[in-house]
Point group: C2
Chain length 548, copies 2
Amino acid sequence: MSEVVKSWTTRRDAKAARLTAAQSLLNGKFAKTQDARAVLETLIKPGDKVVLEGDNQKQASFLSQTLAQVDAAKVHDLHMIMSSISRPEHLDIFELGIANKMDFSFAGPQSTRVSQMIADGTMQVGDIHTYLELYARLYVDLIPNVVLVAADKVDHDGNLYTGNNTEETPVIVESAAFKDGIVIVQANEVVDQVPRVDIPGGWVDVVIPADEPYQLEPLFTRDPQNITELQVLMGMMVIRGIYEKHNVQSVNHGVGFNTAAIELLLPTYGEQLGLKGKIVPNWEVNPTPTLIPAIESGWIQSIHSFGGEVGMEQYIAARPDIFFVGADGSMRSNRAFGQMAGQYALDMFVGSTLQIDQFGNSSTVTEGRLSGFGGAPNMGSNPTGRRHSTPAWQSLRPDDDPLGKGQKLVVQMVETFGANKKPVFVDHLDAEKVQNEAKLQNVPIMIYSEDTTHIVTEEGIAYLYKTDSMAERQAAIEAIAGVTPVGLRSNAKQLADLRARGIVALPEDLGVKRSAAKRSLLAAQNMDDLISWSKGLYNPPAKFRSWS
Amino acid sequence: MSEVVKSWTTRRDAKAARLTAAQSLLNGKFAKTQDARAVLETLIKPGDKVVLEGDNQKQASFLSQTLAQVDAAKVHDLHMIMSSISRPEHLDIFELGIANKMDFSFAGPQSTRVSQMIADGTMQVGDIHTYLELYARLYVDLIPNVVLVAADKVDHDGNLYTGNNTEETPVIVESAAFKDGIVIVQANEVVDQVPRVDIPGGWVDVVIPADEPYQLEPLFTRDPQNITELQVLMGMMVIRGIYEKHNVQSVNHGVGFNTAAIELLLPTYGEQLGLKGKIVPNWEVNPTPTLIPAIESGWIQSIHSFGGEVGMEQYIAARPDIFFVGADGSMRSNRAFGQMAGQYALDMFVGSTLQIDQFGNSSTVTEGRLSGFGGAPNMGSNPTGRRHSTPAWQSLRPDDDPLGKGQKLVVQMVETFGANKKPVFVDHLDAEKVQNEAKLQNVPIMIYSEDTTHIVTEEGIAYLYKTDSMAERQAAIEAIAGVTPVGLRSNAKQLADLRARGIVALPEDLGVKRSAAKRSLLAAQNMDDLISWSKGLYNPPAKFRSWS
């Protein structure tokens, strides 16, 4: 009787068998564009865990379109792992029976359809993550069989150049390349020599030249002409009442007009306050064009980025002192390291949201739209594992605890009523309903009250970290919630008391003149001004060129 | 009058000038071993931020020895950034005036001298970090001018092979390579072709063949013969009362005999309980030899590692289904991604400590020894940014909060008295004194009470997450603190009440027979047994070979 010998190389053998089966389609590592579908049908097996690169900005669009064309009799029941559900075919594959389960982070453009497909059972959701925790699971319990990623250029050895938009490609590829997963890359261009190697060719199994360049969206561009004077007022309050007060040195700005206003006020209002050289030298942020005036005025020393931004390439290449740029001259971004930095190395996160409840919990999940989390909860949370101290972090240390420590500043900046005229401050988040509809384990809260240290509205700033009970926290929120139902519960006596104790500050308490909050205070009024500030190096995408 | 044009390429120009000055010492990227000192004196400038690779296991020992030999008149006032202060010359450079400031994570072997040098002002400490937050700062406010790292093999283009001990090399190199920092590598060997590329040659500026291979220590090897029967008892309690109870799927084990006991009980006691295939398939942990029996018995599906472990190379290469292994057959570790996974993707962290205070705060910092943090606070904390759910995490969700969520299991496992016969449970941590002596911003607490969900001693388990006041938490700790001064405050009535409410469990409450807690229950009794389990693939370092 022979002993059954257990194999310890099942993954390696499976990979080898699949690649052997695909030999007729491959010339070395290279497949032909027109064979892409056959390649996927040969290399992907039913039930596989498949990572499809979909960042915020960059999409492996050729591979996702190809995946949606495979024969569902051959490839089905895939377990998709995607940081961003951005394109129609990302969901089509569920309707076609090619995939049945999804673990993801963000579903901005597809959030309505995601909600529907969960409700009707077309798509089973594993869970919804922040970017960083989704990447983390690629090394623990979501180890992929196949990854589908996008590169700009590739040489004949399979070395990849990702250029400005490196984004999440490295963290995805590593999880497969070193666990006998199959790494399949779509490339915009095959060249004799890549400008630099972002990912070594030895980590890559198959390269398919794409029929068109990967999709790339300028998601972080905000036209200054759309910034309102209320946003200018709030920006002034934030600079005085938070940046200056707490001596903030490092920051992430969420995407939006509120934070764009702050960026455009640094070289003007910040300069008037004498804060240049004193605050925010170090940034973890995408290269948003509204940062250009602050960079050109010498406010900013360094910017590390999650991804690139369309139109900023030449400007970035000309400012290597500020951005992370390779020897080839183009930016290297890195979403995994950026999220790591955003979580652990920053004094402050400031962002916006769609709803804040009476307790201070906030969410961008609203009825019928399951938008996911992205990176905000990672950066907008207080990492309790942090042990190093900075003046800003330490300024939030409680006075009464000898074993206490500092805290990350997590700032929510909202107008009391949203663009849709609905109140931002509500008794209950829509997210509570969405939990039930989508059968989620927990309410999809973006930023919890316990992590939120400041809320800023056009009324004033609530310094929530100073409150010592939930009742006091609620009162502070009510005090700045304007004429929303939540805000109407506040009264003059309460407000006076909270102001006296420094828990709430109105513009006048901060020395901010409402009459000074004019659009003319912005360092740039429009896209043309940004181009001028950039000395012509910034090249906005067509949709931001109203004059062209 | 000519306009003064601001330069945006000061870092790039400085780098180019330094490399030009070193031209006579370089042949392409390569310098001669005997020129190493001159190379460092030319490429490093006073005041530079310098990252010196010192992991747990791997040390850039040739470069650190060389740095200690440079002329302090030429190279001085360096700001060192090091995850681990491990070797004498890591501190000698401060006494020699070569460096004056240090940001670090861990100082195990040098902790006494670190304390002294801080006290006498020889070394100024920026701050003490976890590994992940130190890496994070390399991209934000500790961007290096020069990095000194170690590789196993390098080819003529400068492509690096790190082999099993990739550790922190990639996260360090990237921070310099893409911000015009200078990347200097010591190599054990220059070869025509590296087995695989771990770091592309284009990211590397200078390679110096070392005079001897880099230092590599087997820090995670524990000889089973030193595991006590008390540790067996505690291991049994943890398997029943935590792993099984909470359905733990993914875990990090801190280094120590307590967790080694658990590893060696899985194939025996765990098997008796019928838990095989039900708990802990996925691990983020160094490849500790005491995991071999659990791997061979089919308990473990995957292990991702921060670093390698001396002697485990052949075994790992033969088990690619379990470990992260490259196409070349050797492991790829990654401390940055491992810490990311350890923080965000695990159900549970279990480790040991030297002191626990009456409130449940713990620290390994004891009088006169400032050992730093390493990775434990990162993994042993509840990341409030986590949004995905697992059964174990969700099992700690509070019942009374509709907006509540789960929590990471953070388990401290200690005997009530330490090896030095001193009580582990104390009213006040030594760390409180060390804060004053070392002038630290906060008390250097390793794991805070608020993050600690369970404490296990030979007396029983305290389920701290179930307590709803600090007084109750203290009572639960007292109940398992034995005859330490803290433990003596407990009484029979209190204990009975805590047991009745499931806040404390004694072995009998868990169905664990004290009489069964024998060393014979361990799957391996000694190193020889581990070798047998490994089918001869594990090759212990000489110091663990008592029979040779």
